[in-house]
């Protein structure tokens, strides 16, 4: 049979229950499942067809902690063995003393001099159990406490678009706004600029990426947007963008 049995086009927005392909030619991947003769969507998102594999890039949803992710977390509590950290997900994480610093910490020492309740930190998830118990570490390049910045939250599936291919999007924004920006995989973004105006443009730009993350030609749109704000926006790593993962 010559007729294609794909029911959708690449990059279509699809919804749960939608039949994506008929027959056995296509294989279900992330966000899809097979039922009898059909490949069906099991989440709202952008359908991607890669050869014979169909998967869905989510457009919304809360963060699910993954090993190796660098996130921006907030210290929620201090206990005997270390710090409890909010991860902007359904699960709190643990930062133990030995993973927090290479300093020798004496028994009963005041831990707030390292991290206090309410502090934001950029940290790395180094272990996630099957029950989603999470261990964090501060040992690694760039992992540190964040001071006097502005925090904003975005839907975590939009994070790859905000970062861009090899960090191209975020570095374009950094240059255009003179802001320091850290985008946590958990959707928490830390912004620090020289003045409120720079930070506000950064916030606006990131919101725009979040709203239009599924639109093709996003980099160009953002470049124009920054220019409309009187900022010079240059994309350095010039590669044709594709949707989704970074």
């Amino acid at each position: 049979m010559d007729k294609t049995n794909l029911k959708i086009n690449d990059k279509d927005v699809v919804v749960p229950g939608e039949i994506l392909a008929e027959g056995m030619d296509y294989l279900p991947s992330q966000g899809t499942y097979r039922k009898d003769n059909h490949v069906i969507a099991s989440m709202l998102g952008l359908a991607r067809i890669e050869g014979k594999v169909i998967k869905i890039i989510p457009l919304s949803g809360n963060y699910l902690p993954k090993r190796g992710d660098v996130i921006v977390g907030k210290v929620a509590d201090i206990n005997f063995s270390g710090w409890s950290v909010e991860t902007n997900s359904a699960y709190a994480a643990m930062l133990s003393m030995k993973d927090a610093t290479s300093d020798y910490i004496r028994r009963g020492e005041d831990l707030t001099k390292y991290f206090n309740i309410g502090d934001y930190i950029v940290t790395k998830i180094y272990n996630v159990t099957s029950q989603n118990l999470i261990d964090l570490t501060m040992k690694g390049p760039g992992l540190r406490k964040l001071t006097t910045g502005r925090i904003m939250k975005v839907a975590s599936p939009k994070v790859p678009r905000i970062i861009g291919k090899q960090g191209s999007m975020v570095s374009m924004i950094k240059k255009a706004t003179n802001c320091n920006i850290i985008v946590g995989q958990n959707g928490v973004v830390w912004i620090k600029g020289l003045n409120p105006e720079d930070e506000l443009i950064t916030v606006e730009t990131i919101k725009k990426i979040e709203d239009e993350s599924h639109v093709s030609g996003l980099t160009g749109i953002i470049q124009k947007f920054l220019e409309s704000k009187g900022r010079k926006a240059v994309l350095e790593t010039v590669t044709e963008e594709t949707t989704g993962e970074a």
């Binding site: 709202l44 359904a90 029950q131 639109v215």
Partner: protein, 236 residues
Amino acid sequence: MVYKKRLDGRKFDELREIEAKVGVIQNATGSAYFRIGKTVAYAAVYGPRELYPRFMQDPKKGLLRCNYNMLPFSGSGERVRPGPSRRSREISLVTDKALLPVVDLEQFPNSVVDVFIELPQTDAGSRCAGICAASMALADAGIIMKDLVGAVSAGVVDGQVVLDLNYDEEAYEEGDVADIPVAYIPSLDKFSLLQMDGKVKKEDLVKALEMAKKGAMHIIEVQKKALKSKFEVSRK
């Protein structure tokens, strides 16, 4: 058979007018608005998020927790007293069961997905409208779902099988009335909500279910369109 023409002039298998919108509550992870006739439902989904009290946590999967609530001014009669009632708690329970078969929360053990359903205006069919709003809101929240859920009631008014009863039909006094709210899951071809008030012959029940199925399929098409159009707006 006396009920030859419906009180509002609809065909026997005709739904009331439907309006659906997604992303109406900014604070929520996912949200939706669903209106059928004069019944209006909002749904907001929060989560997966941390679940307390701890004893409610399930180490195998996340918990779906639905809460159905009529706003105090949503009934055409007396003011509805705020807070949960026996009725609203039962509807919350069956709403939960109606949605559970499609929702997959295995990736989120010990967590909860809260679904809040609020009705500012009702004219029969409010639990079904709530389920429809919740179905869209869950999808909007990026929850893994096998399918969307379509809910509508069918019933028998004075011997005639009809779809989507309004309040006047539920209260029809010149003959027996049966009201059968159902929720239908197309990919499974199964019903996940089934209740009934009144009296009905088995043959009529089968006819009513058949009619409700078609109605639910149409409602799901409306849900799909609403979910997709959220992204078409900014796509220009």
